[in-house]
């Protein structure tokens, strides 16, 4: 403990030192800009990203293999009724899935990928219930034919009651849920965490999860940690690259994400009608011609569209605009005359590129 204190102290010291330095340097306006780096093309950058030469490949394999010795302990802990929580730097996806497919063959295993954006827990619960039902059926073979109504019509509460029910004498019958990145974007909201906790607390469910965020603990209150998830922590750094997990993060050097938004904008525009595209073009041209203006008031846009025979009445125009706003292609703000103005939330550079792309396609 003493050494920790010393470390902490040193840390505090160095932090203060650099903070002081920073305060001094930030006074100067000469702070260097990201744009001064000669950033390569995004396409090239993405390609390079997928071809990064791995470091310490052998050492990582040895490290990950060394965890195989613990598989039996992990199974034992899981059977004792705990949830396993794996943490430490590096992607743990492959490790946990390898553990499940070698050591948990007696149990059905469902994997949830928490690093994805949207996860429907109800579907997961239905699958879990079906798997448990299968497992129980094989146990009851020959016993009275229990009929079960289809799970997909049941409510979440019913499903959880089923998973928690005392179905078998043998409390070693369970379905294992693996949650990659239980602190991931798709699972981070508190309602989802509550549902996960309730699922984890079921008698026929065991959970193995991984966390990567240093503050992951803040997701749960004491009730969830102590009585529902019942975590048993394992520190398993793997140093494996976060390939899949990091896929949805924007690259920091990719032109501040403008490339990305041009691409998404052009995809959205393609899916719209020709007239809608034309309306967007009117707005874009106007914005490019007058970059300093706040935007285009609705009436001006309507007049112009009427002249070009794009929109015959305000209602049609409005319906197109609503669609744009829904996709965040167009936003409104007030100008100096307190008039609502429409504008496209892209830099002129990006907008030009978008207009080019649009004209190429048409």
């Amino acid at each position: 403990m003493e050494s920790n204190d010393v470390e902490e102290e040193e840390f505090g010291f160095s932090r203060n030192y650099f903070l002081a330095k920073e305060v001094r340097s930030s006074g100067k306006k000469g702070a260097r800009k990201l744009s001064q780096i000669n950033i390569v093309d995004e396409q090239e950058l993405r390609e390079a990203c997928s071809n990064i030469e791995p470091k310490h490949e052998n050492e990582i394999i040895i490290l990950v293999n060394s965890y195989k010795n613990s598989y039996s302990e992990w199974v034992y802990v899981l059977r004792c009724g705990f949830g396993l929580l794996m943490y430490g730097f590096g992607s743990k996806k492959a490790l946990i899935e390898d553990f499940a497919s070698t050591a948990l063959t007696d149990y059905s295993v469902v994997v949830i990928n928490g690093y994805l954006q949207t996860i429907n827990l109800k579907q997961v619960a239905i699958t879990l219930a079906e798997l448990l039902w299968d497992q129980l059926k094989t146990q009851w073979k020959g016993a009275s034919g229990n009929k079960q109504q289809p799970f997909n019509t049941r409510s979440m509460d019913d499903l959880i009651t089923f998973l928690d029910g005392p179905h078998s004498e043998n409390d070693d019958t369970f379905v294992c849920v693996i949650v990659n990145n239980i602190d991931g974007p798709g699972l981070r909201d508190s309602e989802t965490q509550q549902y996960l906790a309730r699922i984890a607390a079921c008698s026929h469910i065991r959970m193995v999860a991984s966390v990567d965020h240093v503050n992951a603990l803040l997701l749960w209150d004491k009730k969830m940690v102590h009585t529902q998830f019942n975590w048993y922590w394992f520190h398993v750094p793997t140093y494996a690259p976060y390939k899949v997990e990091g896929m949805f993060f924007p690259l920091i050097l990719a032109h501040n994400g403008s490339g990305q938004s041009v691409k998404t904008a052009s995809i959205v525009l393609q899916s719209l009608t020709v007239n809608a595209q034309k309306i967007f073009k009117v707005l874009a041209d106007r914005q490019l011609a007058n970059p300093d203006e706040e935007g285009m008031p609705f009436n001006n846009l309507y007049e112009e569209c009427k002249v070009l025979f794009i929109a015959s009445n305000e209602i049609t125009l409005n319906s197109h605009l609503t669609e744009f706003k829904d996709h965040e292609l167009v936003k409104t703000r007030r100008n100096s005359d307190n008039e609502d103005c429409l504008y496209i939330p892209l830099t002129s550079e990006a907008l030009e590129k978008l207009v080019q792309e649009m004209s190429q396609e048409s």
């Binding site: 004792c80 503050n215 690259l251």
Partner: protein
């Protein structure tokens, strides 16, 4: 360590990586595969290395299950008994309240089954307006709610066993999102046993009348009321009041303090409640009861050692403060103990033996088990030389005897301290302190570094002279009034029953005391007032004599019987003392550990190429590791441009140059490299930079540039 030929193959296809969820595999048919897996695990070289004893996994699991199920049921029982008194009071109050509800009169069938509240003018003007919902406020006296979840479940079960209709709601049923519908849904679910999507309170009303349930009130228990959404709870109460005549609902609200409710509810709703307060026992009291039941009364079973108990005490007092945490810690300790201590399986035998005492008697250890136990690098040092089954069994029963003696003495001391606010947890920690008693302990002293000679003296002083608890207890006994001393001796008699050594002496002391008392009483009646003063004096003399005797007895007993548990032979079978492992599993420490992973990656990767001394960066290190080490040199904000360049500088150092620089300057960033590709082109450098930043972002160590400061990222974690 054996390195597998190939890294584990990609298990899930690329498609699976982008499925929100997928079934990895289904359970293989039960028996056959179970045996297969087990065999596979046992046969794989690594697994055998891991458990050199070849200690069967099922045996482990069965042992744990057996031991823990006993502990668990004991704890449940203790907590239930702890609350029994309050529960009975509540039940009585419910009966009274229901009677007064019934006194308002009964509705005829037609008006009772109408799907709206019973609100005719007459009743509004007279009685209903003054109606309040009978509400019990159950004060938990505990900041943390987690300890009381079970209490409310128990309360529900208790009331159900008395034939009440009970529904347990939690704060999750009262969210702003679901509104009153949420709690109604849950109510209907629990009372009617059906799930209805859009429930209506009239359903409840018709259920109540149709079933002929009118002989019993409906009890709604809401635990953790302070965390409910106030507006929803208010609506709920107003609604219940409207339906008061048709549905006689009685509320039981769990609160930490009585003020909490008033803060949460509107005054309007508050005025609709007729409150009655009940209070649960304090957490400390509950803790003592659990420790007594689990660690003291079951001294023949699993226990925790000094370090672990001190850790748990400190964590309980300073961090968590919940019994739930403590129980969970005990469970994890048992899991680890059974996993690591090969001889822990004998605990199961011992417990069984204890439970069926008189039937089996003696040792019932199987031949194979003993053989295995003796072949193992046994912790039973005292039995090591004697490879005899009987001796082994004898050693165990001796150990059991000593443990019993120890725990009953601790309980005796606790009994003394009851009037002086000492908790059993403190006492347990104190009394585990190794106090060497005889030569047998000497080799243990040498073995463990803590118990050096100096600590030998310190402990002796601490326990017997320098204000240790024993010393204080003796003093307390000396100053104790005779009545209390009598009570104390009586409780000692109970505590020591079954342990002949102490019990006889306690009885002897007690008879002395009783004799003395009788004599005094007789004296009081016989002797005239004149001589009372002198007699009182001699009585006092006798009383102090007896007290001195009791004190001496206590001192002797502590010296003779309280062999510190950790120096008992083969105590490792019972005691778990690996505090580091427990702490790691119990609390984890992602904040610190993930940062250490990055800053000291060499320690984990054990590569030959990166520098051994920490703090020096070499290009061969893990990219993210380099980046995070560099980030340490910045303040709250990191300029991306500078960061990128210092990263580039480190990574692109060729081997020779690095060496040269190392020689030339003591600058920390230069170090030898291995396999450094000479031509790092720009794009791959940028890609590596991007990936490292993404990884730091996943680890939560960075916040991305904001619109205001597009060239800076923000550091999130400072210090380990």
């Amino acid at each position: 360590m054996a390195l597998d030929e190939s890294p584990s193959p990609p298990l899930s296809s690329v498609e699976n990586n982008f499925q929100p969820f997928f079934v990895l595999h289904k359970a293989s048919p039960p028996r056959k595969s179970a045996a297969k897996t087990r065999r596979r695990i046992e046969l794989s070289p690594n697994a055998v290395e891991d458990s050199p004893e070849g200690y069967n996994e099922n045996l482990r699991f069965e042992t744990f299950k057996f031991l823990w199920s006993r502990n668990e049921s004991t704890i449940k029982e203790v907590l239930k008994n702890n609350n029994a008194e309050v529960f009975d009071k509540i039940d009585k109050w419910i009966s009274e309240s229901f009677n007064s509800i019934c006194a308002y009169g009964k509705l005829d069938y037609i008006s009772a089954t109408r799907p709206y509240p019973h609100l005719d003018k007459a009743s509004i003007s007279t009685s209903v307006a003054s109606h309040q919902i009978f509400t019990a406020l159950l004060c938990t006296k505990n900041m943390e709610f987690v300890d009381d979840i079970l209490t409310f479940v128990d309360l529900g079960a208790h009331l159900r066993s008395r034939g009440r209709y009970v529904a347990n709601l939690t704060s999750l049923d009262f969210t702003a999102k679901n509104g009153v519908g949420g709690c109604l849904k849950s109510l209907v679910r629990q009372f009617l046993m059906v799930g209805i999507d859009a429930p209506d309170i009239s359903i409840l009303a018709s259920w109540y009348t149709e079933q002929g349930n009118t002989g019993n009130p409906m009890i709604v228990i809401i635990d953790d009321t302070e965390r409910c959404c106030g507006a929803v709870l208010t609506d709920f109460i107003i609604m219940l009041r409207e339906w008061f005549i048709k549905i006689p609902i009685i509320l039981i609200l769990g609160v930490a303090t009585t003020d909490g409710l008033r803060n949460n509810l509107s005054s309007n709703a508050c005025s609709y409640l007729s409150l009655c307060e009940f209070t649960l026992g304090t957490p400390a009291k509950r803790m003592d009861a659990v420790i007594e039941a689990v660690l003291m009364n079951k001294s023949y079973s699993f226990g925790i050692g000094k370090q672990v108990s001190v850790f748990l005490r400190n964590y309980f007092l300073r961090h968590d403060g919940t019994l739930t945490f403590f129980v969970r810690a005990l469970k994890i300790a048992m899991v680890q103990h059974v996993y690591m201590e090969p001889l822990s399986f004998t605990l199961k035998k011992l417990v069984q033996e204890e439970e069926t005492e008189g039937i089996g008697g003696g040792s019932t250890l199987g031949k194979n088990l003993v053989k295995r136990a003796l072949e193992l690098p046994s912790p039973m040092r005292s039995c090591q030389s004697r490879e005899n089954r009987n001796d082994y069994a004898h050693g165990l029963s001796e150990l059991k005897r000593l443990r019993k003696l120890w725990s009953s003495m601790v309980m005796c001391l606790y009994e003394v301290g009851k009037y002086h606010k000492i908790t059993l947890l403190d006492l347990y920690c104190d009394m585990l302190e190794p106090v060497p008693c005889d030569s047998r302990a000497s080799d243990h002293l040498q073995l463990s570094k803590d118990n050096s000679i100096s600590s030998y003296n310190r402990h002796l002083l601490g326990c017997f002279q320098n204000g240790g608890w024993v010393n204080r207890a003796i003093q307390i006994v000396r100053d104790m009034p005779a009545v209390e001393l009598c009570k104390l001796l009586k409780s000692w008699e109970m505590l020591t029953s079954g342990i002949n050594e102490i019990h006889d002496k306690v009885m002897e002391l007690q008879s002395l005391e009783i004799h003395e008392e009788n004599r005094q009483k007789q004296g009081m009646t016989d002797i005239s007032k004149r001589s009372t003063a002198r007699n009182n004096f001699s009585d006092k003399m006798d009383e102090t004599k007896i007290k001195a005797k009791v004190a001496t007895f206590l001192e002797c007993m502590v010296r003779e019987c309280m062999q510190p548990t950790e120096s008992m032979p083969s105590n490792e079978i019972f005691l778990f003392n690996n505090v580091d492992k427990l702490q790691a599993a119990l609390t984890g420490d992602p904040r610190r550990r993930i940062q250490t992973d990055l800053l000291e990656s060499q320690k984990f990767l054990k590569c030959s190429c990166c520098s051994k001394s920490s703090g020096v960066l070499s290009p061969s290190m893990h990219d993210t590791s380099i980046m995070y080490s560099l980030a340490q040199e910045h303040g709250d904000l990191i300029n991306l441009h500078e960061w990128f360049h210092s990263f580039k500088e480190i990574v692109s150092q060729p081997r020779t140059q690095a060496k040269q620089r190392l020689r030339l300057s003591p600058s920390p960033k230069k170090r030898k490299a291995c396999q450094q590709p000479q031509n790092q082109n720009e794009s791959s450098m940028q890609a590596r930079f991007c990936r490292a930043i993404t990884e730091l972002q996943i680890a939560g160590l960075l916040r991305m540039p904001s619109k205001r400061r597009p060239d800076y990222v923000q550091r999130v974690a400072f210090g380990l």
